[in-house]
Amino acid sequence: MSKRIDVSDLNVYYGDFRAVEDVNITLDAKSVTAFIGPSGCGKSTFLRTLNRMHEVIPGARVEGKVLLDGDNLYGDGVDPVTVRSQIGMVFQRPNPFPTMSIRDNVLAGVKLNNRRISRSDADELVEGSLRGANLWNEVKDRLEKPGSGLSGGQQQRLCIARAIAVSPDVILMDEPCSALDPISTLAIEDLINELKDEYTVVIVTHNMQQAARVSDKTAFFNIAGTGKPGKLIEFAETATIFNNPREKSTEDYVSGRFG
């Protein structure tokens, strides 16, 4: 189920502009890794390269290697579609498909990969995924209603249910709580803690307390100035990053002196 990601010498470009420079990092299986850093430091861009979602942006390209348990995601003949079905993603703003019911939202990814699924298997998968996203009790009586009728926090958990329904190896989360209220945020954070029993979770967050609460390891990204590429400054156990960082800029950032 859960797989490890090794990134070596990764550079991301938008056209001629280098957005992220020379990242080397290993993301452990069954753990939560948080990416923190000031806005524009390339952490979201880097996150997107882990499932090749950056390719949606015209002109974006990558040099370097990303290995998922040893398989290079950027190898010859690797289809980004396959990559994305193995590495799920949850976005900043909840984005359930507005034209689909709650049930169909959960099944959306499964129906792509495996068109024929029996009614009972589908029911089981819907219940399992919604339970996995701590949403089942809230929506079990209205599975046929549109997903867009849920609250923001519920919609975000529906998106997590949709991501885990295809049983990915890794789940990427791009600031999943930035559009949510504190209570919904807490619900998502609890969920992240449970998810790491089965999945490799990578989360980008602007909220340092959140990184401290949910992650095992933390990576700090920074830029030297506008127009300069983002860099991975420091990567260590979360406790180390927050209490005893090696780099001066990490300490300044986590103690709130800048950013």
Binding site: R84, Q86, F91, N95, F97, P98, S148
Partner: protein, 292 residues
């Protein structure tokens, strides 16, 4: 101030529409009270209007059956497949096509397309003549209702293509990314996140196209050699309301004029019903439109 202006504009539209409807009804009334024997054809208004209503619907249906799939495909290509520079060029060309006056299309249909279609029509009559729609003998000039339908299709195609393209471009990136992140191919993403979003817009675009096809006068008048209602699409015959009015109005007086205005009233009602049905289809799925 602004609300007053908006209210005024809204009221003006209703007033104009009402005035048009009132004019049509008042001017058409003598037709309905006239002696059936005095109506063209000699058997009352219904027998006069029915064939040209059907002819209008046939021509418009052919046009939409051809133009809708092609128009949507062109729009999808420009919005989601073509490289940006090609897409822009193609967009200009499509918008330009929409601006060509209908008489040009009519002249092209009559002088070029019709003669090109003579051979295919003869082939259809020979091989598929057992289907009433293609019953022979095929028209010797190619000026049939099918040719008129094809010309209308060419005319409404740019309308459908350019309107649906705008809708496709507005499909939220958020949901397109959601589909891609689940491992959807580009086509699967379009089916999941673009087409459902664009559904209402496609229907509106098709209805606007239908409006133009139903009301088109010049192209049909030039292309079709009209006649009584027949099932075959490849023989000369049939007539549409708009072309009938345009061809006969200059010489009409007295009852004949009232008759043609009554025909216009019928056309007005058809477009009204078509638009209401479209509105109903769009609203039926409101709960899932994403607007809530």
């Amino acid at each position: 101030m602004f609300s007053g202006a908006a209210l005024g504009a809204g009221a003006l539209i209703v007033a104009v529409l009402f005035a048009v409807a009132l004019f049509l009804v008042v001017q058409a009334l003598p037709t309905f009270s006239a002696n059936p024997a005095d109506i063209t054809g000699g058997r009352g208004f219904f027998d006069y209007i029915f064939p040209i209503v059907v002819g209008t619907l046939i021509a418009a249906t052919i046009a939409l059956l051809i133009a809708t799939p092609i128009g949507v495909a062109v729009a999808l290509f420009t919005s989601h497949y073509a490289p940006r520079r090609l897409a822009r060029g193609l967009g200009y060309v499509v918008d330009l096509l929409a601006a060509i006056p209908s008489v040009v299309y009519g002249a092209w249909g009559a002088s070029y397309l019709a003669s090109q279609l003579k051979v295919p029509y003869a082939w259809l009559a020979e091989n598929f003549g057992w289907i009433p729609l293609f019953a022979g003998p095929a028209s010797g000039t190619g000026k049939t209702i099918l040719t008129a339908g094809i010309v209308l299709a060419v005319m409404v195609l740019p309308i459908i293509a350019s309107l649906t393209r705008e809708i496709f471009l507005q499909a939220p990136m958020l949901h397109q990314e959601a589909a891609l992140a689940l491992g959807a191919t580009r086509w699967e993403m379009i089916r999941m996140a673009v087409l459902p979003f664009a559904r209402g817009g496609i229907i509106s675009a098709v209805m606007l196209g239908l409006g133009r096809a139903l009301g088109e006068t010049m192209a049909v008048a030039l292309v079709l050699s009209s006649g009584p209602l027949i099932a075959s699409l490849i023989r000369s015959g049939n007539q549409t309301i708009a072309a009938e009015i345009a061809l006969d109005f200059p010489e009409a007086f007295g009852l004949r004029m009232h008759e043609l205005i009554a025909a216009g009233l019928v056309l007005f009602l058809i477009t009204l019903v078509v638009n209401m049905v479209a509105r109903w289809i769009i609203n039926r799925h409101k709960e899932f439109s994403g607007a809530n």
